[in-house]
């Protein structure tokens, strides 16, 4: 199992804030493919080039990274803070 959290505009686009997914191990790429495979809003909102950053267990990851079982994964749209 992993917990996936969505932030900012993604929460509205996907219609949820967080979810728990079955997970046997894999990478950030695996997770994104699985989410995109839901089609519709998911495929559009998480299209390659649209997702700016992923966070695994509170650490921002660069490129492809492992997601261990039990992890918290954050999917972050472009930041607009300050």
């Amino acid at each position: 199992m992993i917990n996936v959290r969505y932030f900012g505009v993604l929460k509205d686009a996907l219609g949820l804030e967080q979810e728990t997914l079955d997970w046997q191990g894999g990478t950030t790429g695996d997770l994104l493919s699985r989410l995109r495979a839901r089609g519709g809003d998911w495929d559009a909102a998480l299209a390659p080039g649209k997702v700016f950053r992923l966070v695994v267990n509170q650490s921002i990851v660069q490129g492809e990274a492992a997601i261990p079982v039990g992890a918290e994964v954050g999917i972050l749209p472009p930041v607009t803070g300050g």
């Binding site: 932030f7 509170q58 972050l76 749209p77 930041v79 607009t80 803070g81």
Partner: protein, 152 residues
Amino acid sequence: MRLSVTVSADVFDLGQEEARLAAEAGDAGAVVAFVGRVRGQDGPVALASLFLEHYPGVTESEIARIAREAATRWPLLACRVVHRVGHLRPGEGIVLVLMASSHRQAAFQAAEYLMDYLKTQAPFWKRECFADGSERWVEAKTSDDDACRRWS
């Protein structure tokens, strides 16, 4: 460098924060403060409020990482960052950055550097709530990315 980062819904008190920083920093000489406030008339429709979201834990540690990076570039004695989240009305303070150094140029440049990064890299998301009842998530600005690129 002494470093303290707070992200919360609470208002901040510039006078108290600066006095505490100056006392902690010892013989600082120069303190630069930046206060960012919610603007009410950024676009054609008046803003009723701004809603700020962050990623608890991740946002704080990212800001601290950026501040520690600033301390490798300039001789800093102390740094304090306060960023607010939740609903904020026009005129309210959103962000406070304080930099203490023995030298004013270091304090100025480090504060500007940290602000450029806060605007472009720190995990915050803004939702604008307008006077006419409409709402929208703010899109990332290119001009802020340009400001950030100056330092690289």
